[in-house]
């Protein structure tokens, strides 16, 4: 049975100003439509340029449910190609990263392609001599996505050939990525190692919404952050003694509601937004010797201070990534099914900054984002309980009403109380927009 396919009115009716219908999380049909429309019309994160630093370097990933390859072409540009041989459909690369040299070669029948996707050669080509292969799409080579944009090292793709420009899609939200990159005295980031990969049996949007959900840390994470605070107090260390590293990373999750209310939330058009306008859980990290001096050397004192005074917490780039500027992390929430999401958590090194910053970034990643994390365990528990609980037919709507005001306008930037759910409403406003953009009612 199809309820939503070719029925934009039904899709639009899933979103109300103060609530969303559970089908946005539980319906596999809605998931399929998200992949076909939302993830095609939006600009979606692919990878970081340092993952393909040299010519011929490739990195295999997904944009929505689409297998793609990010590859450094012989001209130095980065291309994003569908990971599919135009001949029989075989995936061209199967390992997650590598170097392919000057061309890709399909392992099945040895069709070969330049690193921009153009067909290079077909063995025994005379077999096609009297055919009309050259008139087909298949003869053109590996298909490229609709558009690619590199913003300060971060590669985004739009699958649709036509649509919103990169600049119009992200607007001023790019300031969070800019701040993360500016924190390098060289203005450059490099990926560090492989990402953590964490499998969740829940809808991808739950993870994205949780990034700006500031009313859950002190509740869901009481068992980790609260216990950390308790154990620390039991140690009875003298005032000013160095704290265990876990305290600096985990304990701020136990901050009271007022802390999160006052930190503020900013939303931008098209579903982007961030917590931590005024301060955040990252504000009070210990200074690393030599770092500020290196920043002043590069930027001058005023600019260096301005960069480091920005302590944004989580920035959501709609539809499916979150960036933490002050600690150089990116989490990619890759949708696999209505009830299945893989989370990949990357860290980056600030080029020309002291290594101790990378150590803190790596520590944060393993303490908070790993499948072995005592913080992550309780998050996953909440998502999966929600995924199961939503199947209850007694109530079909999910509430997103906290601090909602009359006639909210998501086309303008806004800064509000840090516990508002405005950013969740903003995401669903964008969700509807990019879902409906290419949907047409059946005749």
């Amino acid at each position: 049975m199809t309820r939503y396919t070719d029925n934009p009115d039904a899709v639009a009716a899933l979103i109300e100003p103060h609530q969303v219908h559970r089908d946005v999380y539980t319906s596999q049909e809605v998931y399929r439509l998200e992949m076909k429309h939302l993830f095609a019309n939006a600009w979606v994160f692919v990878g970081h340029e340092s993952q393909t630093a040299n010519k011929g370097d490739y990195f295999a990933t997904q944009v929505g449910d689409q297998p793609v390859i990010q590859v450094r072409h012989s001209t130095g540009d980065i291309h994003v190609l569908y990971n599919r041989c135009p001949h029989k459909g075989t995936k061209i690369v199967i390992d997650r990263q590598g170097n392919t040299g000057k061309f890709f070669r399909c392992p099945y029948h040895a069709w070969s392609f330049k690193t921009d996707g153009c067909l290079l050669a077909i063995p025994l080509k005379k077999g096609y001599q009297d055919t009309r292969l050259s008139e087909t799409e298949n003869a053109k080579g590996m298909k490229a996505v609709g558009a690619v944009h590199n913003h300060r090292g971060f590669i985004f793709a739009r699958l649709a050939a036509e649509g919103i420009s990169f600049e119009d899609f992200f607007g001023d939200s790019l300031s969070s990525i800019d701040n993360m990159v500016d924190r390098s005295p060289a203005g450059r980031l490099e990926v560090v190692g492989p990402p953590l990969r964490y499998m969740h049996h829940c809808n991808w949007k739950m993870l994205v919404e949780n990034q700006t959900d500031t009313c859950h840390p002190m509740v869901a994470h009481e068992s980790s952050a609260g216990t950390a605070v308790k154990l620390f107090e039991e140690l009875g260390l003298p005032e000013g003694a160095p704290k265990p590293p876990a305290m600096e990373i985990i304990a701020p999750f136990m901050s009271p509601y007022e802390f999160f209310e006052n930190m503020g939330i900013r939303t931008w058009p098209n579903g982007h937004g961030h917590t931590g306008v005024h301060h955040s859980i990252h504000s009070d990290y210990t200074a690393i010797p030599g770092y500020f001096e290196a920043m002043v050397e590069s930027y001058g004192e005023d600019r260096a201070k301005a960069i480091l005074d920005e302590n944004r917490h989580n920035t959501v780039y709609f539809p499916n990534i979150m960036v933490k500027g002050p600690i150089q992390q990116l989490r990619n929430f890759i949708p696999l099914a209505a009830d299945k999401t893989i989370v990949e958590s990357y860290i980056y090194r600030l080029v020309d900054a002291p290594d101790e910053l990378t150590a803190r970034t790596a520590m944060y990643n393993r303490m908070i984002n790993a499948p072995t994390s005592i913080v992550g365990h309780d998050d996953l528990e909440m998502y999966e309980r929600a995924q199961e609980g939503m199947m209850a037919d007694g109530l079909e709507w999910v509430n997103i009403q906290r601090l909602q005001t009359e006639d909210e306008d998501f086309t303008v930037e806004a800064v509000e109380n840090g516990t508002t759910e405005r950013q969740m409403r903003n995401q669903f406003d964008a969700w509807r927009k990019f879902m409906l953009m290419s949907m047409e009612a059946s005749a």
């Binding site: 997650r96 560090v192 190692g193 492989p194 990402p195 953590l196 990969r197 964490y198 499998m199 969740h200 049996h201 869901a220 009481e222 068992s223 980790s224 609260g226 216990t227 950390a228 308790k230 154990l231 620390f232 265990p244 590293p245 876990a246 985990i250 893989i342 958590s345 860290i347 290594d355 990378t358 150590a359 790596a362 520590m363 990643n365 393993r366 303490m367 790993a370 499948p371 072995t372 005592i374 992550g376 365990h377 309780d378 996953l380 528990e381 909440m382």
Partner: protein, 157 residues
């Protein structure tokens, strides 16, 4: 006091049993105070500090991890997970005076509710003889499929 190869091997077996039986206070008491439990993320990873690992935990973190398991509001442990180690006879690779290195291959099963996962592990123990007793100086646990996407791993492999 001298320690025999068999005593070292017994120590490794005893440790696995403590974890399976949830005797965490006994388990924590095996550790030297500056020890680290390291679980790399990358195959053959050499750096625990400047790259992401699954775990690289000092005694404060290990105590926190154990203490949390018994908390009233530890939601992901309602109900509790259970685990089971099946280990091969440990190899004692180094015996230098009061310090020892062992390598142990094992299968680790962790279960909760309707889910059960099986991990193939290699554990390296750095042991030290302190005041007549063997203690864990450091422990490294490599998961065979470390590059796979995991669901929660909540206990101690």
């Amino acid at each position: 006091m001298n320690v025999s190869r068999d005593q070292i091997i017994d120590f490794i077996y005893d440790e696995a049993r403590m974890l399976d039986e949830g005797r965490y206070d006994d388990w924590l008491a095996l550790w030297l105070p500056d020890g680290h439990y390291w679980m790399p993320l990358d195959y053959q990873q050499t750096d625990p500090i400047y790259e992401t690992s699954l775990m690289y935990e000092d005694m404060f973190m290990l105590k926190l991890r154990v203490e949390r398991l018994n908390g009233a509001r530890t939601f992901s442990q309602k109900p509790k997970s259970r685990c089971h180690h099946v280990i091969q006879r440990p190899f004692v690779d180094e015996m230098n005076g009061d310090s020892f290195v062992t390598k142990t291959f094992m299968h680790y099963v962790e279960t909760r509710l309707d889910e059960q996962q099986l991990l193939a592990l290699t554990a390296r123990h750095d042991l030290a003889l302190v005041d007549g007793a063997l203690r864990i100086a450091n422990k490294r646990v490599d998961i065979l499929n470390c590059d796979a996407a995991f669901r929660n791993i909540q206990l101690l492999p």
